[in-house]
Subunit: 387 residues, 2 copies
């Protein structure tokens, strides 16, 4: 949040800041670590002016030279507004500074390819900072199985019921099922795209994206008009991982973009989780490998997810399993109980022989078992009590 | 292996040793840690004589007082022979001393309930020491699902194909499926029982046990005539865990005896593994909990099992997944490649703008991509090469 000339906090960044960041998003293909650092050092307005004039270190010019002549910031902001979208900048109260801090920390540690975004194009009725406060990423294969889509939808539904926002990538398969599960629960879901918000991609999910935007969010760092590309999905994955507390991979083949998101989440120090499946399913191979390599924690339910990210759920899905009545018995009492028969009675001597428990102990244990309702006397000796 | 009066090694223990151990197996209900230590200190013949006369420490008398009058050793050995069984004692070459050492070590560390057996009743054509040299336990729920039984059978089949012996408990469900999988592969399987070898239990598996005995082994520490009992299955589980290098739980409910075997295997320092399944299946809950709690390593195949127990399999089940052709490209080359179109050509300037890669780099990368077969020149500029 910035302050105005009187030092009062305000919710929105001034227009020149927004224009400068819109320009910077346009001239550099993310992630642009040198540019991000340059903006951090000079502020967005001065940084933009310097880049435009070519007065920046070589590393910054490398990232920006191809497009720095482009003066499309105003057009991009107008275009976005026409699509019902806005540019959220770090100077806004809506900026998700806390979850994205992980990107700066990892970049500072020397991790490549995870520089923080310069700003984010956002469309939808939710506030990005609020959605990202308690958020889980649910991602997975496009070529998902019915099991995977069902599991993703159920998991997302339950997470939304637990007041968590669910982030995903709007792809076919697991991503779409996760978004739909949240919508069914009336919760908040966010789709983070690897293309401009107006790209209409994937084509079959345009309606879904519109529904997501009603109560949730559609997010991208790519300016209007940017087409989807494979490298952009990989770059986008750092935002899905960065904006959430943890990432759940629901289904993933041996090679899968979802595993890339999981690896990025791990690099960022976020929690990585994976859902198991039938061992014969090729779409669970990636999840099983993540779990086997201890790169992900197995989760089988929303409660598992909440436990793993460290928040206790208010209401457990299932009560603990019932104890068998004899669970409280010691080993010798258990053996004596086992040595009794349901119908015919046995003498303490017979019980001692059958159970291997010394006769004196048997004589002491039988009345104790009777008191606890496990044994009863009959004409021919002792027998097991009917339950 | 013992030595005869000339100091020559011999394969079989003398008759008095076998008689003494048969007597000791009859008088104490396993596990009998005090008796095991007493036998270790005095040797089986003297220990048996002292126990019979009541001249033993209280701890030993506690374990043996109920039955020490029983002089059934000769009858038990005759009875066993009539059923085609034998008593294997630690003085025999066939004794699986090395794997069972884990029981002594754990008992020495103060772990309760895992004392080594005094001897083992064995029926079948295989040698117990050889079977236990490279052995895996495959266990699981009696109330197994078709998925679980199928997975257990396939896993056991593949392990048997890798020359490993598969141990299990002959129960309905997973145990039976594991034994049958090995029999289908013509391998060696061993059933370890919680009752006498002649108990005919479980009734529906008498035929299966006969087939197991043909080329494999049926094993028990309980004398002929001992009926099955719940506590005996728990006690038996330490032998399944102890005789193998690792235990695989294929299916287990939230409460399951298979989890007891897994816990015992962990206590003994053996490898514990679990097979995942669909998250909606109640019979996979126990496996998922074991994996989630890091009490077991996830295994999805026989190769996973072999990797986990530390032996590399000679032949991998599946070749590594194929690499995509563009995997070898650097990030800038990948972005340039993505910026090309399949049909119409693009100028280097257009490619630079679209990819965000500096024009000078684009001019250098395009010919390099051409050399590697990723790009080609056409009348209108550069386009993606057809693969």
């Amino acid at each position: 949040m910035s302050t105005d000339e009187n030092g009062m906090a305000r919710d929105h960044a001034p227009d020149d800041v927004r224009l400068a960041r819109a320009y910077l998003l346009r001239v550099a293909e993310p992630p642009a670590p040198a540019l991000a650092a340059f903006v951090g050092a000079h502020g967005p307005v001065e940084a933009a002016a310097l880049v435009r004039r070519g007065q920046a270190p070589d590393s910054v010019l490398q990232e920006t030279s191809a497009r720095r002549e482009l003066g499309l910031a105003e057009r991009d902001l107008d275009e976005a507004e026409r699509h019902g979208a806005r540019l959220v900048v770090p100077e806004d109260a809506e900026w998700p500074a806390w979850p994205l801090l992980a990107l700066d920390i990892a970049t500072g540690r020397g991790v490549d390819g995870v520089a923080a975004p310069i700003a984010l194009w956002v469309r939808g009725g939710a506030r990005l900072d609020e959605a990202a406060t308690e958020a889980i990423a649910v991602v997975g294969a496009r070529a998902a199985t019915p099991y995977g889509e069902h599991t993703a939808a159920e998991l997302a539904y339950a997470l939304a019921g637990g007041e968590l926002a669910v982030f995903s990538g709007a792809a076919y398969g697991i991503d779409g099922a996760a978004h739909r599960g949240v919508l069914a629960a009336g919760g908040v879901t966010a789709a983070v795209l690897g293309c401009g918000l107006d790209a209409g991609y994937p084509a079959g999910h345009v309606g879904l994206l519109n529904r997501i935007a009603e109560h949730g969010l559609v997010v991208s760092e790519y300016p209007p008009g940017t087409p989807p590309a494979r490298h952009r999905f990989l770059v986008r994955n750092r935002l899905i991982a960065g904006l959430t507390a943890g990432t759940v991979v629901v289904e993933a083949g041996a090679r899968s973009g979802a595993r890339n998101t999981a690896a990025t989440a791990g690099t960022l120090g976020k929690v990585v989780m994976a859902v198991p499946g039938p061992v014969g399913s090729a779409q669970s191979v990636g999840c099983h490998q993540l779990i086997r390599d201890a790169a992900a924690t197995l989760v089988a339910s929303a409660d598992d997810v909440l436990d793993t990210v460290g928040r206790l759920s208010a209401a457990r899905a299932a009560p603990p399993p019932a104890r068998r009545r004899t669970d409280g018995l010691g080993p010798q009492a258990l053996r004596v109980h086992e040595a009794l028969e349901g119908r015919g009675g046995r003498s303490p001597e017979e019980v001692a022989t059958e159970s291997g428990v010394p006769l004196a102990r048997v004589r002491a244990l039988l009345p104790a078992l009777e008191l606890d309702g496990f044994a009863e006397r009959c004409e021919t000796g002792w027998r097991r009590a009917r339950s």
